[in-house]
């Protein structure tokens, strides 16, 4: 491998891009692939997408040659809007699943360190916080406040980004109202279909911890590319 290629790989990682280092095991050559930044359907890009999505390198044969696709994913992040009960259960679960978790809530009595030991708290308003944190393809966003003043700006920011998962707590009725507000704000039904609401897989969850499990399960399914009708 050339030093310049290794430098390019390191640069791509610092820019938090999803990058694949493809090494040809037959002739020793290597190249970088950015499978989510193109629509190429060749086997290296297709398999590269799968490897990145599954967080697992893979070996691929192309024209009688063997390639090893090593993956370099930026860290998973989760932004939870609303330092509420469910967030207290969801944040440590997400951290255990290797997410860098940030709980966003400008209401100071909610987002205290006492309620969220070892979790990053952000007391800015969601639109301001998200403009700064720049959610990307490796980010999940969940709104839990039930309060349109806090939830809606977060959802609008998420819909304008590439986040892989958007979830919004609230009943079917709350969700319908939310859709109306977002429609007035200019979002199409297709865009709004990215929002999972009511949030979480339907596992009959009742307690905050159980609801957190259902949300975590839904996020995992989205991350790994499982279709919800398989579940």
């Amino acid at each position: 491998m050339d030093q310049s290629l290794l430098q390019e790989l390191q640069n791509a990682r610092e820019e938090k891009r999803q990058v694949v280092l493809a090494s040809n095991l037959t002739n020793g050559s290597s190249k970088l692939l950015y499978p989510f930044e193109n629509k190429e359907e060749d086997i290296l890009n297709e398999e590269g997408r799968l490897a990145l999505r599954n967080d697992r390198p893979r070996e691929v044969k192309q024209n009688g040659e063997t390639w090893f696709l090593n993956i370099f994913n930026p860290p998973l992040r989760m932004f939870i809007v609303g330092a509420v009960h469910i967030a207290q259960k969801l944040a440590p679960m997400a951290a255990a699943a290797a997410y860098e978790v940030t709980v966003i809530d400008p209401r100071r009595s909610f987002g205290s360190d006492f309620r969220f030991p070892d979790i990053t708290l952000d007391d800015r308003w969601p639109d301001e916080a998200l403009a700064d944190l720049k959610p990307d393809r490796r980010t999940a966003l969940v709104t839990l406040t039930h309060d349109a003043k806090l939830d809606d700006p977060a959802l609008e920011a998420a819909l304008k980004s590439d986040v892989f998962y958007i979830g919004a707590l609230g009943s079917t009725r709350t969700n319908a109202k939310r859709h109306q507000r977002l429609e007035r704000a200019g979002f199409t039904p297709e865009q709004m279909s990215r929002i999972n609401g009511p949030v979480g897989l339907d596992i009959g969850a009742q307690s905050p911890a159980e609801i957190a499990i259902s949300i975590m399960a839904e996020i995992t399914a989205s991350l790994r590319g499982k279709q919800s009708n398989d579940l």
Binding site: M1, Q3, L6, Q10, S23, N70, I71
Partner: protein, 112 residues
Amino acid sequence: MNQQLENADRDDVLKAALHWKGAGKSVALATVIQTWGSAPRPTGSQLAIDSDGNMVGSVSGGCVEGAVIQEALELMNDGGFKTLEFGVSNDEAWEVGLACGGKIRIFVEALN
């Protein structure tokens, strides 16, 4: 099992390789490309080696690094790449150092 690699660890490996190269040393990279059984490090794990035999990273948690470094030093002189296989039966496992009878394939290449 989630075999997600530690981002910080990988950062160190690539940084070390670039740093050594920048300092004018010869450098080789080793990557785990396949594992069978209970191999100690997942596929994709990397080890950077310089011409003085310094290393950063890990391909087997210490088990076969010695053998990998020997091959790496040869590649630094001759250039090119090589695929190594450490196939280990349970009896031999202790000798080569893969304590649990795992099996790994490692791709080693010189950095040009």
